[in-house]
Amino acid sequence: MIHNEELLSFTGYSRDTGDLIPLLQKCQKQFGYISEASVRQIAEYLNISENHIYGVASFYSQFRFKKPGRNTVRVCIGTACHVQGGKQLSDELKSTLGIQPGETTPDNRFDFEEVACLGCCAQASVIEINGKIFGKMTTDKLVKTLQDYE
């Protein structure tokens, strides 16, 4: 049974498998993650098996299969950020939030992931909260910045 609020809209997408990844991306944009209900709908629409979809989706690191928190923190562990101490930021998040990358805090306030290069290397080290970029980050600043997000 698929509930109304889980319904995916397919307008603008063809039934060609070439549209599978764009559909998964749209699904993640709409719901924040790829749920079983969404996979079932996509499978039916494209006339391919659910297994096939999981096979493709799990290859790409962008897709998540668990519901994210209210705020998403992404730490850049790209090279420029690594040289400027990006790993320390990631370690700080692990201990402050008490979760590993890809997990969500029990109170649903934050989830966090490590990503490769956010494309602003000259600003290294970089983190991104809910799509907003924070450059020249330090562990001190990071803890303060997190407090602004409920």
Partner: protein, 408 residues
């Protein structure tokens, strides 16, 4: 730098694609851009809509009988999808895994049709070359390597950012004249992204062109130039790149799937202080096998960071393996911190930030650091304005707290 080209002048890239499509008679074009660059995606789509409106894209363009349209496809976070055949698989909605070549995409590409794949910068340069002529373009650079190339100059140079230089300029000019040099002594420059190599100061006079780069064990690759000073440990850096390659290996061929794993495990061991004399030999053998037998460019070039650091910085490997010491004070198991009394004016900043209460001392007198309490979080190093907190070989008598680094 490809991102800023797409954001700053998407029309140049799209015009280049249009010209290339006309040349080979293609009817469909795709821009594959990382989803992490939302602004680039937005501006590309906007520019494409404008071109359609003006009739530069679509059916029977300006009555020429030529049809062409461009679609933007967002990547989904897989590095290997930059490889031509993996890119095609991804566009077709499959797992982005490479396939053997030949047949090359120029014969059998997207949906089995002939396809050419080029970099954004290549397409972006095309309109200018056509407009101004080949003579104009070849006045830049040097014979065999004409034209310019953009680089993303980052790391420890005074000035960081995007630069466009004529090919053949030396690394020294780039690092010291454009980048303004480094504050602490220069150690290495890494070129070409995660699959490139690390070059030492002895190679600073190497001209930046395709042949010289590959002769020195690196590549032009993504056009990244990362400058490192004494505070970067190159064994740790090799481990970092190798971990990236291991995570991004698509897993199709054994040499790359297992090879990257063995390289990471061996480097992990060395960084932890458990390195053995024959580890360098193991790294060599595995790297060699990968270069010779991996199927795609990712696996073939993945050992570059390891091979180049062994080639130019073997003394750092020896320090880690034989002396159990990390000279750059990065690998937490292989050094202790101490405060250099000659450099410390006693400002007290480090005392405030040390959560382990390992630093003590009076104002205006050199402070002292208690090794047995230090967890090497580097907080003090980051706030010290005098570079007074330095790494020294580990004392064999004082027992250390568990290190702050968790190595899985």
């Amino acid at each position: 730098m490809n991102r800023s080209l797409l954001e700053g002048d998407p029309h140049a890239v799209l015009e280049g694609m249009l010209i290339a499509a006309y040349a080979i008679g293609a009817t469909a074009g795709y821009v594959y851009v990382r989803a992490e660059y939302p602004l680039a995606v937005l501006r590309l789509k906007h520019a494409i809509a404008q071109m359609r409106e003006y009739g530069f894209l679509g059916m029977n363009i300006f009555g020429s009988g030529f049809n062409f349209d461009i679609t933007v496809k967002e990547g989904a976070g897989a590095f290997v999808c930059g490889e031509e055949t993996a890119l095609i698989a991804s566009l077709e909605g499959e797992r982005g895994m490479p396939r053997p070549r030949p047949p090359y995409p120029a014969e059998v590409g997207l949906h089995g049709r002939p396809t050419i794949i080029n970099n954004t910068e290549t397409f972006g340069t095309l309109p200018n070359i056509l407009r101004n002529g080949g003579k104009w373009y070849s006045q830049f650079g040097k014979p065999g390597n004409t034209g310019t190339k953009t680089f993303s100059l980052v790391g420890k140079t005074r000035y960081t950012g995007l630069i466009e230089v004529p090919l053949g300029m030396t690394l020294r000019q780039i690092v010291f004249e454009i980048g303004g040099g480094t504050k602490k002594p220069f150690k290495a420059v890494q070129t070409g992204g995660p699959l490139g190599g690390c070059l030492s100061s002895a190679l600073l006079d190497t001209p930046v062109d395709y042949e010289s780069m590959s002769a020195s064990g690196s590549i032009m690759g993504s056009g990244g130039l990362i400058v490192m000073d004494e505070s970067t440990c190159l064994v740790d850096l090799a481990r970092y790149f190798q971990t990236f390659s291991r995570n991004e290996s698509c897993g199709k061929c054994t040499a790359c799937r297992t090879g990257t794993r063995i390289l990471v495990d061996t480097l992990d061991k060395i960084v932890r202080g458990e390195g053995e004399a024959n580890d360098i030999g193991i790294l060599y053998t595995v790297a060699d096998t990968m270069q010779k037998t991996a199927m795609c460019g990712a696996g073939q070039t993945a050992p570059n960071p390891v091979l180049s650091t062994i080639r130019y910085f073997i003394s750092e490997y020896h320090a880690h393996i034989i002396d159990k010491y990390c000279p750059s004070a990065v690998c937490t198991e292989l050094f202790d911190y101490t405060i250099d009394p000659d450099k410390c004016p006693g400002c007290g900043r480090c005392i405030k930030v040390c959560a382990s209460l390992a630093i003590s001392g009076e104002k205006n007198k050199p402070h002292t650091l208690d090794i047995s309490k230090c967890i090497k979080c580097k907080n003090c190093v980051n706030v010290c304005k005098f570079d007074a907190i330095i790494g020294i070989p580990r004392s064999s008598t004082i027992k250390n707290q568990s290190s702050s680094e968790i190595i899985l």
